[in-house]
């Protein structure tokens, strides 16, 4: 269980005293506030704060004095139009702040999204906890044989057992030694900023992460995608569930235009037109490479 009783008490305290506000408020999001949504074996995502709602997107797009448009239905139409035409700035007018606990190797991918604000737990200043990501057996994937950057079958039997044993024992030994180096018992004790270098990349860290909705959608498009590494995808999936409750119209437009849609090349559009006129097009007559053709066929078939 990722949270201590003391931490749960702090969360309860934050949820105990609603205050009146004149700001845009979303009941569905209030229900999420501060609660930890478990991800992986020790991780979580929890919403700390949010700014704006679907209506705030329209309000900014129109630079209006009051709310955005006259009705929820008009808001939806406008939001779909903005998403379809890549008018990204109105979506930047919504902001969300998350507290995330995640393995270091996931954090290293995540931080590559630069247009966000981050405060990470400092291992120079503080001592990290003994918490490591150990995959579930069905997440123990082999290297893909067709894609250098991906996963293939799941490891079985003795091989799976050996891998799990390595991960567990190496994590624990590394942490034992980390503790032994920083604890002093009559010795000086190595500086924390140095001792942490012995810790493996499956140790958990945590941070506050704040991002606007446009950049969050960009993150989700790449990280909730089938090509993303499973261990970051589960965080993206958990965030998607929250966003649905926060800005349902914007999320629906995002899903239609970004997640379930497709990007075609000029060559792809050309092939499509020929096909729709009844021509039989093959990879050889398409002008595409084999890789492009395979991806194109997966869209239309």
């Amino acid at each position: 269980m990722p949270l201590s009783p003391e931490q749960l008490a702090e969360i309860d305290a934050l949820r105990a005293h609603p205050q009146p506000t004149l700001r845009a408020t979303v009941p569905g999001m209030e229900a999420h506030l501060y609660k930890a949504q478990p991800v992986l074996d020790h991780g979580f995502v929890r919403v700390i704060d949010y700014m704006g709602d679907d209506s705030a997107i329209c309000q900014a797009a129109r630079v209006s004095y009051g709310k955005g448009t006259k009705s929820v239905q008009n808001d939806e139409g406008l939001i779909r139009y903005l998403m379809r035409h890549w008018h990204s700035t109105p979506f930047e007018m919504c902001e969300i702040k998350l507290h995330v606990k995640l393995p270091v190797f996931v954090a290293r991918q995540w931080i590559r999204h630069r247009t966000a604000n981050v405060n990470e737990y400092s291992a120079r200043y503080s001592i990290l906890d003994r918490e490591f990501y150990i995959p579930e057996p069905d997440a123990l994937a082999a290297q893909s044989v067709i894609n250098n950057q991906g996963r293939g079958e799941t490891l079985q039997g003795a091989e799976a057992a050996r891998v799990l044993e390595i991960l567990k024992s190496d994590s624990n030994r590394a942490y034992d030694h980390y503790e032994a180096m920083i604890l002093d018992e009559g010795q000086l004790g190595l500086a924390r900023e140095l001792a942490r270098m012995n810790l493996p990349a499956n140790i958990y860290t945590q941070w506050y992460w704040k991002v606007d909705l446009h950049n969050l959608f960009h993150f989700l498009r790449l990280r909730a995608d089938a090509h993303a590494q499973y261990e970051i995808r589960v965080y993206a999936d958990a965030i998607c569930e929250m966003i649905k409750d926060w800005v349902p119209a914007a999320y629906a437009a995002f899903e239609d235009y970004r997640m379930t849609g497709a990007q075609l090349s000029g060559k792809g559009v050309e092939c499509l037109r020929r096909m729709l006129k009844g021509e039989k097009v093959t990879q050889e007559t398409s002008g595409m490479s084999k890789g492009e053709w395979r991806e194109f066929m997966s869209v239309i078939d």
Copy 2:
């Protein structure tokens, strides 16, 4: 008066229905919400939304589960420490959204601050209003004779009158012609995106502007400064008044370390040490240029 009765009614509607929220809430900021604070002759600044408070800065700095520190006094100490040591990321955890009405030449300076989100009223899509900035007589400054980028004395008498007459009549003529070009009465009417090019830089525009507290402080340091152009400084000053009511501890630290403090060069520090030991230092013996010496003396004298 910058707001129409219809606009005021929209603002009243937004202020009429407080909702319960679990988010960090600041009563002093709630009092500002949606209200237009007048700036210049037709401009205003109004707060549309905010995220976070002083405590949220500490909460992020500590990556904590509950509030930041145990007491308001501890929060203040931590905030001063963060500001003094340029730990900027915790201040990025607060966010504010403003609706600003401002002359185009002010907007052109303002937009140079890139780390912010902006939605501007579209003159491709909509027709601009007939509202121009005409300076008050005491803002009619002459070109500085000692600083190429600054103001000197105030224009007087006939010269002042002539300048005001030019600004008023040219603005109105430009707007008359703008209207004449876009209105069709039996003609096609010039596209709005073209007709707007006839309008001078003192016409008012408006935008939604969203920024985090760290970047807002950077904006205020440069734009609430004595060297900033008066017409943008009055906006920065109006924003300062709101920020005091939002994050009083952070604002106090900003004021002490950024606004009333000073940046010394290595040469300046060296001179200071010599002076404090009783040596008489002059520009000639300081190693500084005349400009640097003048600025140095204005700090210590």
Copy 3:
């Protein structure tokens, strides 16, 4: 002609003395360096500097010690793969610096692209030249009757003449008064930072603009597009011509995947699959709005 003999002499001086360098160098781009490519009536774009080439994109993608891949053909394949899969960071490893002269209303659109570096000619410090954008007759478009943010037919005869006359005379009067306000002849002279507010948005300004290739492609996708305002599109078109000579493989991939390709929604993909199976799909049975359907049909037809 936009350049004075003195300016041309400065450009010739910069082109007179090639220096040896070990950096990635592109002969096609060297031919462009410093020369002004005319755009509109007084504007131009000229390349001041560039960093990287097609090979540098691959070098960064592979984090290699030497060049990117073994052959130009491999470079092309890798670049197409990166573009297709939205791997944007290798394209950020190329950088270009441009000097652009452009009307203020174009500059105001351009500056909305925030991930770039800009130094603009200062009208607080310096006096602007008497140069205004006056459209060619065939660019005098009427407001579109079907799209609020666009152009329709071209103005003709008396209406066109009247518009041109307004633009010319208002520009000149505004500049006469600008000069009259700042020149002193026995008077103080209004500060430049104030006097400029009388100048209309068709006056020319200029800036140095530096951007990486990924963000430049984003700019070009939006601004070289048919929906962009004509007056910024001609700048984007002129830049496209330069980029072709700089990074031909990256530009070809950009053209195929971004410029001539299409983004389909999930609904669009669904319709397409039904159509390819021989079903007759109409707007009514597509689940799309009329606007979406019209845009969808323009892709496939």
Copy 4:
């Protein structure tokens, strides 16, 4: 030695064929190009490309057609003025691209500087090398007893030996197991993206990092500072040596105004003025906290 003969041959090939260019070129920087400057036990920094020079800063500040100012001396004066008055945009007109090999825990600090372009070696796609940072004995610092985020004395004798032994043996065991998990010999082999999670934070990674001069100075101010962790400071120091050879005037201004200078608070300025008038000021009469007073005294004494 960090580079293999094959890598050195690739570097020699890049240095073998100077090309003529019309771009701003700096002989002192050409001498650095592609060569690896060793840092720590297996790391390095090497310059891959650069854009601009001291003159380019002035050229952009003046938005000029040719070079920046008439003389090197004028360039220096202008650059000092720009640095003193926080006119940061002209410094953004210079750009540098580095190839850096560095331990992962250093990379994690480094990446927090968001305004830069990065391509990191992919441990999803490729297999990492067996190279770990093992500190020199004099870098084996104890935790500071006065500053939670810092180092104190150096570990000695048995304690030092024990720490080094732990770091070495844990690194090697982790790598042995990493190899064992991914190599298949009759088994599937764990996916690389998973196996890497067993590797500790002292393993070396590498990346291409591209940044403009303004943001590089900001990085250097924080990371070449005495409060930065030693292991990132040595990289910053190595970069400083390169920058001196690239933009000597800008670097000298940076050193004077940012590195050897000091930031005083409003309270600090007030105390200083009292001191210079002969008053004896103590912490008690200064209005500062003990921490602030200690830092203030270290500036002036």
